[in-house]
Every structure is written in structure tokens, then in C-alpha cells.
């Protein structure tokens, strides 16, 4: 949007390979693209041409039916009264009954139409016009514009004075719309669905929309060409500019119409002269190039540097992995090696251990010699108790034996 307005060539309608002039692009055609807005407005606007439909108010209820209640071995649904005819006693009223009314009957007082804010509608039209100036969007919508010289396609005013359809068709073909027109003709097919029986038998694709300023015969010349539609620049319809809610219609402007766009819509500063209180939509972001913004020096200079993520990896068990044990417990491999050496014969560590062992055993022997000799050792003191008892028992036995011998004698 900060760039200068591009210049659009005007093509001679009789000889489209030559350009009769140039014109700066109106600001409307540089409006921000808002597909969501166009879709929304189109959805609501499209509802406004609907005709009401409903079932008859009395449908299904035009009987004097009453329930027979219980006791007559029939369901309790209301039944048609009387006799003498099949209808008598048949169920009525319910949606389940044959000839009964429908569930939730459709009504004419359904809210068929939608109101859309005027500004919203105008913004949508501006948006749709802008989209029709962009070849990728027009191609995406399905139009065949490979032979078209330029978008937006502006043609000299002479085309407005065409009266014959043949001439109009020629002019369009010369402008490069031949493929487009052929596409429309080829696409004519019978509509799927009931519409075909309701006077909407055929469907076909849409072709170019010709926007004119003065109708000197152009509408009547173009109206029988399949797919081509005409619109006066003062009365642009979103339903034509963005059919089905998708913007990017292939639009052909006449010189007068193209010039008038600037008169109608004006610029962002001036507002729209012909639309009271209306200014063209502004973009939400003045500079929408995010990559450029992010990588600009203004932004990058205030950022801290990008950091590597902490990765903890899979937990390993230090008791199993010697590497990890060394990492966590520095010097452990060394100490372990020394420890292992001490069980290998011939190494100084082994000798060291053996020396200590010897000293320990010596110590122990010395201790035993001192403390565990004589009568005060554990075993001796233990046995002393037994010996004492044993001696007492022996003495007792001897005494008894002596008594017995005495008695015998």
C-alpha cells in the first residue's frame, strides 16, 4: 500500500493489440482483501431474493378428529369421526399419521431476509473489486484468462455503443476472452436435483462481468452471450462481483467506468465522494510482510539470542555405565582400578593389602594370647557352670547309692 499507484493501460475495443491510453489504478482496486467479509456479506445478501414457502396452515388438521381414549383396543391417537368411508376411524393429526400434519410446519413468517450494514456491504464490494484486479485470484476462481492482456482489463468507451451481439462477441474474443466464453458454452448441463423440474433446468459457469458507464447498446448486445453479464458502475452488486461468496470475478471495465471508480470511491484521505460518510476500508496491518518485520534491524536488535534447548536425553544408570560414573563421580574409575589391582597377585596394591591382613591377624593373635588363655576364657567359664553342676549331681548320686547299700545291708 505504500507503493505508488500502478498505471493501467486502456485497450482499443476494435483493435485490442493497441493501447489508446493509460490511467492510474483507482484506490478501490487496492483495498485489503477480506475473503471472510465478502463471504459473510454475500451469504446474507443472497438470502434477500428468497421467496417464502410453507405448508398450508391447516395442513393435516382439517378433520374433526378426536382420540377414542382407552378401552377400545386401539392406540390413543386422534381418529377421524363418522362412518361409511375408509377415512372413518383412521388416525389423524399426528406427524406419524397418514394424512396428518408435519412436525413443526414450515411457516411463511420465517426470517427470510437479512439486513447487512451499509458500510459492510460497501467494504465487501471494494474488496471484491480489488480481488478482480489480481490474476491469481481470478484464475483461482476458475476463469480462463491466459490470453487476456492485463488485469484489470480496461477497454475504450466505444464498446459501450455496440448494438449487435455478433460484434460484441467478436470484441470479447479479440480481447482474449475466447477461452472463457468457450468454457461457459461447454459447461452447460442439466441441473442435478429437483430444480430441473422447477424451471431451472440448465446450469452453466459464469463468464466475464462487463462494467460500463453509459449504456449505448452494450447491455443488449452482451445479454445473449452465454456467461457474460453487464453492470453499471454506479450500481455494482456483490452477488455479481463475488458469485457464491468467492471473490475474483473476471471483470472487464470500460474506460468511462474505470475512471468513474475513482470518482465514486475516492481515496483513503478524501473519502468516497459519491457515498456519503464512507471511506474505503483500511488494512489491519500497514505492512503485512511478517518475515520482513521480524528480520528487520529494529526488531532483531532488541531480541536476546536464540538458545539451544535443554536436552536431558534418556536417563542412564551410573552403576552400570562406567562412563557416566566417571562423569558424575570424578576419579571413580581410577579408584576402582586400584581396588581391582589389590586382588591381583604381584601388584604393589596386593602386597599392601596382604601386609594389612597380616598385621590384623598378628594383632588378633596377640589379643587372644593375652585375654583368651587361662581360666577366664568363655568356654572355660561356661563349662565351669556345668562342671559344678555335674560334680553336685555325681555327689548326690554317690550319696544315694551309699544309702541304698546301707539299706540293703
Amino acid at each position: 500500500m505504500a507503493t505508488a499507484r500502478p498505471v493501467v493501460s486502456i485497450y482499443n475495443f476494435e483493435n485490442p493489440s493497441e493501447k489508446t491510453g493509460t490511467m492510474p489504478m483507482p484506490v478501490v482496486l487496492q483495498s485489503p482483501l477480506r475473503p471472510d467479509l465478502v463471504r459473510e456479506v454475500h451469504r446474507d445478501m443472497a438470502k434477500n431474493k428468497r421467496q417464502a414457502y410453507a405448508v398450508k396452515p391447516k395442513a393435516g388438521y382439517d378433520t374433526a378428529a378426536e382420540s377414542w381414549c382407552t378401552g377400545r383396543a386401539v392406540a390413543r391417537i386422534p381418529r377421524a369421526p363418522g362412518g361409511g368411508t375408509h377415512r372413518a376411524g383412521q388416525a389423524a393429526f399426528g406427524n406419524q399419521a397418514r394424512g396428518g400434519g408435519m412436525f413443526n410446519p414450515t411457516t411463511i413468517w420465517r426470517r427470510w431476509h437479512r439486513r447487512v450494514n451499509v458500510t459492510k456491504k460497501r467494504h465487501a464490494v471494494a474488496c471484491a473489486l480489488a480481488a478482480s484486479a489480481l490474476p491469481p485470484l481470478v484464475m483461482a476462481r476458475g476463469h480462463k484468462i491466459n490470453q487476456v492482456a492485463e488485469l484489470p482489463l480496461v477497454v475504450s468507451d466505444g464498446i459501450q455503443s455496440l448494438t449487435k451481439t455478433k460484434q460484441a462477441k467478436e470484441a470479447l474474443k479479440k480481447l482474449g476472452c475466447g477461452e472463457e466464453l468457450q468454457k461457459v458454452i461447454d459447461s452447460k448441463s442439466i441441473r442435478a436435483g429437483q430444480g430441473k423440474a422447477r424451471n431451472r433446468r440448465y446450469v452453466k459457469r459464469l463468464g466475464p462481468l462487463v462494467i460500463y458507464n453509459e449504456d449505448n447498446g452494450i447491455t443488449r448486445a452482451m445479454r445473449n452471450i452465454p456467461g457474460v453479464e453487464c453492470a453499471h458502475v454506479d450500481r455494482l452488486n456483490l452477488l455479481r462481483l463475488a458469485p457464491g461468496g468467492s471473490f475474483g470475478r473476471f471483470v472487464i471495465f470500460t474506460e468511462g467506468a474505470f475512471k468513474k471508480l475513482s470518482d465514486i470511491y475516492g481515496t483513503l484521505k478524501s473519502g468516497a465522494p459519491k457515498k456519503k460518510g464512507y471511506t474505503l476500508p483500511r488494512a489491519a496491518m500497514a505492512n503485512a510482510d511478517l518475515a520482513r518485520i521480524i528480520n528487520s534491524t529494529e526488531v532483531q536488535s532488541v531480541l536476546r539470542p536464540k538458545m539451544e534447548r535443554y536436552t536431558h536425553g534418556i536417563k542412564r544408570n551410573a552403576l552400570k555405565s562406567k562412563e557416566l560414573m566417571e562423569e558424575l563421580n570424578p576419579g571413580s574409575t581410577e579408584r576402582r582400578a586400584v581396588q581391582l589391582k589389590s586382588s591381583q597377585k604381584g601388584t604393589p596394591e596386593y602386597d599392601e593389602v596382604q601386609k594389612k591382613k597380616k598385621a590384623r591377624i598378628e594383632e588378633s593373635k596377640k589379643y587372644n594370647k593375652e585375654h583368651k588363655k587361662g581360666d577366664e576364657t568363655f568356654y572355660k567359664t561356661l563349662m565351669k557352670a556345668f562342671e559344678a553342676k555335674a560334680a553336685a549331681d555325681a555327689a548326690k548320686k554317690a550319696a544315694e547309692k551309699a544309702d541304698d547299700e546301707e539299706d540293703e545291708e
Binding site: 536464540k306 538458545m307 536431558h312 551410573a318 562423569e327 585375654h371
Partner: protein
């Protein structure tokens, strides 16, 4: 911090025109790469110093453990020699394991278990032995088993199942840096420091024990005897204080 700069290399084909933004980016990355190199060198130096100190401390700790064990032996022998009784020092450290599941927990024991950070079956924590802790354990006796871990048990638990609480996340203790960053201000810079602090219940026991995420142990290989009953009951059971014999259980659960 500069060690962690993420430097992205831009591959410019030979002789290609370099866009302005790409050129700016390349210059910036060059400067950052230089800073990073210097920071890494400084970090490497600091790391080597730290490791040397840690090595010294570890040797000192091993000597300390051996000395205390030898001292106890000496005292026991002395007592026997003199016909006295040696009163074994009371345990300073206990390891508690939650035995009960989550379902149907009364509110009071449930709260106490939460306070002890035993929120899951077979979770274990190290605790200091003091009056308040003993009283708390009294409240949750039937739902835990606990005892006095040996040095071997402490080492194995911390090396195999040691995770630390780093910004509220459970981070494996795969490097001494993690420990140093979290506990450096208490003078604890490595695994052996943690083990020493825990085993000897040092002045920073609380901080170290809290740094350690509750241990998530496996179910014991060979099973429990009977979780419904107490360890000390005649009919055989598992809950409560099993003193030294916790080491046998932890050997099967670790």
C-alpha cells in the same frame, strides 16, 4: 548463558548473490558464535576446576565413612573388653516407602503421606529422624514401611533412581551441573556431595532431600510378605519400622 546460543549456519552457494537480510543475519551469527566459543572455553575451565575439587571431597568422604565405621567397631570391642554394654548410636536417617495404594485412605494419614511427598505406591523419601517426623510416621504406620538405609543403599538409590526438582520438573541427575545449579549455594556440587549430605544428615539435609524428587521404586522382586500386617507381628507382615532390614527390601525394589 552464552554457551547455549543456538547458532544457525546459512549455506550460501558459491558466487550467489546474498540478500541483504541474509547478510545481516550471517554477521550477527558470527559475532554470537565468537561469544559462544569464549563462553564454552571458560565453562570448560571452570568445569575442570570443579571436578578436581569434587574428586578431593569424594576421597575425604570415603575416608570419613571408613573412619566412622572403624570407630564404631573399636568402641564395641572396647565395651566388650571392659565388660560394658555398648549402646549403638540411634539412627539419624530413615528411608520411607509407601506400601498402600490410593484408594480408601482416611483423611489424616492421607494428608500426612502428602506432606511426606509419598503420593504414589512404592514412592520413597529420605527423612531425618526427629520427634516430629517420628510422630508423623506413627500416624501412617500401616501404610508405609521404613528403616535405616546403609551407605550402599543410599548410593544405589541416588545413582539409579535419582531425579532432581528443577523448576518444578522431574529432571534426571545425568550431570553434576544440574546439582550444582540447584544446590550450589549450599556447597553441594555433585552426586557424592548429595550422598554424603543424605547419609550423614548434614546441615543442608532438608534442602538436598527436597531437591531429590521422591524415589519411584519398582515392586519388590520376590514380593512382600503381607502388606496387611505389621513387620513385627508374629504372623508376618510388612508395614512399620523394619530398621536395618529395609536394606534387603530396597535391594529388591531398586
Amino acid at each position: 548463558m552464552a554457551e547455549r546460543y543456538a547458532i544457525s549456519k546459512v549455506n550460501v552457494p558459491e558466487g550467489a548473490a546474498v540478500p541483504e537480510l541474509v547478510k545481516m543475519k550471517m554477521e550477527k551469527e558470527e559475532k554470537l558464535a565468537e561469544e559462544k566459543k569464549q563462553a564454552l572455553a571458560a565453562k570448560q575451565k571452570a568445569r575442570e576446576e570443579e571436578r578436581a575439587k569434587l574428586k578431593e571431597r569424594t576421597v575425604a568422604y570415603e575416608k570419613e565413612y571408613a573412619d566412622t565405621a572403624a570407630e564404631l567397631v573399636k568402641l564395641r570391642r572396647e565395651a566388650k573388653l571392659n565388660g560394658n554394654f555398648f549402646v549403638e548410636p540411634e539412627a539419624k536417617l530413615i528411608f520411607v516407602v509407601r506400601i498402600a495404594g490410593i484408594m480408601k485412605m482416611s483423611p489424616k494419614p492421607r494428608k500426612v503421606l502428602q506432606l511426606l511427598r509419598l503420593k504414589q505406591l512404592h514412592n520413597g523419601v529420605f527423612l531425618k529422624v526427629n520427634k516430629p517426623i517420628l510422630n508423623m510416621l506413627k500416624l501412617v504406620q500401616p501404610y508405609v514401611t521404613y528403616g535405616y538405609p546403609s551407605l550402599k543403599t543410599v548410593r544405589e538409590l541416588i545413582y539409579k533412581r535419582g531425579f532432581g526438582k528443577v523448576s518444578k520438573q522431574r529432571i534426571p541427575l545425568s550431570s553434576n551441573d544440574i546439582i550444582s545449579d540447584a544446590l550450589g549455594k549450599h556447597g553441594i556440587h555433585g552426586m557424592e556431595d548429595i550422598i554424603h549430605e543424605i547419609y550423614t544428615v548434614g546441615p543442608n539435609f532438608k534442602q538436598v532431600s527436597n531437591f531429590l524428587w521422591p524415589f519411584k521404586l519398582s515392586s519388590p522382586k520376590g514380593g512382600f510378605v503381607n502388606k496387611r500386617h505389621g513387620y513385627c507381628e508374629a504372623r508376618g507382615g510388612d508395614w512399620g519400622n523394619r530398621e536395618e532390614l529395609i536394606n534387603e527390601l530396597l535391594g529388591r525394589m531398586n
